[in-house]
Symmetry: C2
Subunit: 288 residues, 2 copies
């Protein structure tokens, strides 16, 4: 006989995923949220915030690669990048792989997420924390974009929780207005917009907000195993519509120059280009 302990994700009231727990590694209440890190039998180590799976060692590459490489290669020459959230450091690590990046500012509101990720999930960020181009700030992303100078970033990557709880304030008019202001001429912002099969309103509602301040608003998809429910959407708001229609061969050339070609497990030039072609059931949620 064994004693089985299961963690049931509580994202949805009527449906969920569950993990057999090998060992609990950390459990604490930060100033912002409930944080649990455990060792699973199926997905390596897993971080859970307020009952919602945030990252697993086994599949983190899908989300992180698509959230970092797609905007940076679509821009083509992003030197200054702002990351909001992403306390595990995985997006920061991918951003810093790009040779074009001279400065990557990461603003995470919950210092405990960073501390626990460094202790229990060290492979996810690797050496990114010590890169001289990285500036890691424990603080409020909303406040940061409010104070940042005009035209000071080429890309903004918002790796937030869903627009409930801690992440809610990252989906407001004021936030997107400031994003538009602090972005350079060809600047863009991406952010996670949930899984349309389960959370269709999230893509729709936040897209409407983004469109008030950006001429080009769309989304792209990624099939993240532990963000269950088929494709998740990553929202896109930019000033240059051509960025989401770059031919595969140009994407490949940029990836080669950036040093990431052949270094990825989910992203590829074809996956990149294809991700902007939304299945009809998702496309219908974008404001017309």
């Amino acid at each position: 006989m064994t004693t089985d302990i299961w963690l049931n994700e509580t994202l949805y009231p009527n449906w969920g995923q569950r993990f057999l727990v090998k060992r609990e590694l950390a459990r604490e209440r930060s100033d912002y949220q409930d944080i649990v890190i455990f060792e699973s039998f199926s997905h390596g180590r897993v971080m859970v915030l307020d009952g919602i799976i945030q990252i697993t060692e086994a599949d983190e590459f899908v989300y992180q690669e698509m959230l970092a490489h797609v905007p940076l290669l679509a821009h083509g020459a992003a030197a200054n990048v702002l990351i909001i959230g992403a306390g595990d450091g995985g997006v920061l690590r991918r951003v810093l792989l790009h040779g074009s990046v001279r400065r990557a500012v990461m603003v995470e509101i919950d210092g405990e997420v960073i501390r626990l990720a460094k202790q229990f999930l060290p492979a996810i960020a690797g050496d990114a924390w010590n890169d001289p181009r990285a500036e890691v700030i424990v603080g409020d992303g909303i406040d940061y974009v409010k104070r940042a100078p005009n035209a000071s970033f080429d890309a903004i990557i918002v790796d937030s929780t869903d627009p409930i709880g801690v992440g809610e304030v990252l989906f407001t008019d004021e936030f997107y207005q400031n994003c538009a202001r602090i972005l350079t001429e060809r600047g863009l912002v991406v952010n996670q917009c949930g899984v349309p099969a389960m959370q269709a309103d999230e893509l729709h509602d936040t897209s409407i907000r983004r469109r008030k301040f950006f001429p080009h608003v769309t989304a792209y998809v990624a099939a993240v195993p532990t963000y269950v429910g088929g494709f998740m959407t990553l929202g896109w708001a930019g000033k240059d519509a051509s960025q989401t229609m770059i031919p595969v061969e140009l994407i490949r050339a940029r990836a080669r120059a950036a040093g990431i070609l052949g270094e990825t497990k989910y992203w590829s030039p074809e996956i990149h280009a294809g991700a902007f072609h939304l299945p009809p059931y998702i496309a219908q949620h974008l404001p017309g």
Copy 2:
């Protein structure tokens, strides 16, 4: 207070999805498997075979569209189609949408699956059961392909359970050898190959078998919400390598001629073409 009843999927020992059950509709033991149909709060009605989710009303379109439309439009003129499994009738319905199809033979081993699907999931097959081009056989698909005449089908669609339990015999050398024999000159066979993030061996092992009898073996992907774990793969074995590299505009023209353009919720010409570009973490499981 409410009394909550949860159904926990038992596909994997260490990880799973769970559904809050609104009402149990059917539960029986057929000659082949344990069959449960229930009403969920999240996904409409759900059919479960031997503890594994097979189909839900909410997301069946993803799997069925990709399993039917991709091979038929890639072939371009499929007149005779063989469907093995798929007792709910959803693949049969999609196959019959294609004007080119003159005969669709469906061979399902478990008559109880058909009977219960007709009773509790009638919308999935719609009127397909009564289409004069449809020939529905309750019988053994292995045996059917063994006896079928040479060059009698243009496409074979295998909608089986995983290669364990009832579905196991559909993944043998003998089965694929017979498929090759009964297919016409440009014929092809597709079959579900599991979710590589969780079941990587399934794609690898069955691809090796298919390659013994077909010159062109590959796979394509679909993000099916309730086949959880990111992309699932659909195995492809054909005699004409050009079928998996058809330009988007030709796919669109064929879909328009077939009468399915604009009638789908997941499939689109771009999704079709993009589905053959596998993420590196999946492509590595194909035999080199």
